[in-house]
Subunit: 387 residues, 2 copies
Amino acid sequence: MLTRADAVALDAADPLARYRADFVIPDPSLVYLDGNSLGRTPRRTLARLGSLAGEEWAGRLIGGWDDWLSLPSRVGDALAPLIGAHTGEVVVHDSTSVNLFQLVHAAAALRTGRRVVAVADDEFPSDRYVVAGAAQALGLDVRRLRDGIRLGDVAVIVRSLVDYRTGEAADLAGFTAAARDAGAIVIWDLCHAVGAIEVDLHAAGVQMAVGCTYKFLNGGPGAPAFSFVDHSLHAKLQQPIHGWFSHRDQFETDSPYAPHLDARRLLIGTPPVLSLVGAEEGIALTAHAGMAAVAAKTTALTQFGLALCDQAGLMSPTPRDAARRGGHVAVVHRDARALVPRLAAEAHVVADFRPPDIVRLGCSALTTRFTDVYDGIDALMNLAASA
Amino acid sequence: MLTRADAVALDAADPLARYRADFVIPDPSLVYLDGNSLGRTPRRTLARLGSLAGEEWAGRLIGGWDDWLSLPSRVGDALAPLIGAHTGEVVVHDSTSVNLFQLVHAAAALRTGRRVVAVADDEFPSDRYVVAGAAQALGLDVRRLRDGIRLGDVAVIVRSLVDYRTGEAADLAGFTAAARDAGAIVIWDLCHAVGAIEVDLHAAGVQMAVGCTYKFLNGGPGAPAFSFVDHSLHAKLQQPIHGWFSHRDQFETDSPYAPHLDARRLLIGTPPVLSLVGAEEGIALTAHAGMAAVAAKTTALTQFGLALCDQAGLMSPTPRDAARRGGHVAVVHRDARALVPRLAAEAHVVADFRPPDIVRLGCSALTTRFTDVYDGIDALMNLAASA
């Protein structure tokens, strides 16, 4: 029988516990289990925004661009080791939707002759919308991704590594290998994985991926997303939005368009510097803690959460196999839609609801305490019992 | 004969002079004539970033989205009156390059049967690259925009209102009318016009426009851009990047994609909130000063600058007709590339160079003093004489 004392003991033994002090936490009593939607605010981000706006922008003015021009690739290079990528393969820019759009085009251009893009019916909605829009623009058919799907004519598959509802993690290496064997390129959406669990893109043979930085990486609301493309594809990489940040001689206005030779080919327009440094600071914190330690803590938090769910009689579709789950625990309940606001109002617990019947409990390694998991699930159990 | 005393007198009589105190200006002796590349830092932006990160994000966490979700349209609605647009017609999002890409697609979709996109050879490079990339994706031909161009088969024309080098402003109403008469849609790039001069999109019959917020609107480095689409086109507006922020029922994950009924159809992914509030604050300052007063000051600054150029024997291609120029004065000099860094190093004057031979002197109504214009051109004259 797990008790709150177990949670207290786990927090006391947690080697990452000290990182919580690196975040701005105005209300320490709040049980925040939604870092999988929006991570907390790193103290260094707050300081950085002040120095960026008050000193770099105000003081260096246009000269600030000497540093800022390289931010998308610099932040990408800092992110790369967290996902098993190399220098020059990751850029931080635009949004997951824009980046996915680019890569669907890029992947389709590498698989001319194939006329199908595959995506699951229950994939994250924005990904489904982007895939459908890109397919329409490209004249491709969209096929439902499911077990037993024919892949012989599939050019591109878009798939989330971690399911945004259940928290189930796909078999990154196995699925990628099967798709590659069949001649398809998988674009992995890492939004619900990056900064939570170990991801080794090269070990898994991944060719393309996108993801966001505002969830487990604590980059700030709407911080730019990232794109990964395996270096072996860079020379052939074509995407349709040719902005000046992808152009090698950016300020030589008479030179014909010639994109960079690495992932910077995917850059488009002038990047949102204030939001980009938020991503940089968030990534730096996770890198400082070490991805292995972060992933181990995520696993411990979700394991503790699942054990508590079992004990409380709450039903969870989140896998018990740690290798097959991400950074949140899902609880299925017919009153989920009503329970989430009640958790906030009656128990000071922030979780989120995903239709039709899921309560998501996010476990952010750098800020979530085992006591948060305990208190959140305890409150959920009590409210569910009275629902 | 104009002297520095004239500049001092003009500053003393300037009704907008007090707005300079609303900006962070660490070095008041710096002659900054590059607000047309990157505007200065509003004090309220600095404060807003602190409260946004330290209170809204850190304190409200995911609940902050209750306010942030509407930022792209709210900031767009605040910008709309500065360009003669209506509520619901402007959204602030992504970058000029992405937005232009969307509108080239949208305009082409409204002109099926026509297979040509027209853009000038000397249009701003990123616009040319975007047009070429979009045309390639759409299977359209790119035709060189110039006097006497055939428009009978042209679907879309992309054109800057203010030339980024010469500062010449196009005839917004006249060119739009001629294009519409010929059945083409003009997408106006307002980057070098918005926040500098009076722009009345509806009076000119404009159907589509894009522009940025980090130049004369002082939105901060890489602040998101904007898109304008005339309301009569909203219902038919189709663009290819279908992100969840364009979807009416954003959080109802089972609903089929159904975009908003206004300019929000152009929204894509999660917006970069930190950069977006920079745009909001910058736009608010210009709105507070009043666009008519801002435009009058711009005209006075550039007129003073042109008179000084004439007096100094500096050659400028910037039109003498105030109705035909934007917010910067261009000086043509064979040593322009070398003169710009010398201006900074030897005279504490920041201007910028644009190939092959132009020195740009930006006049930002809220921050540029007549003495800045005087000192900048005086320094340029002296350096040019010794070059």
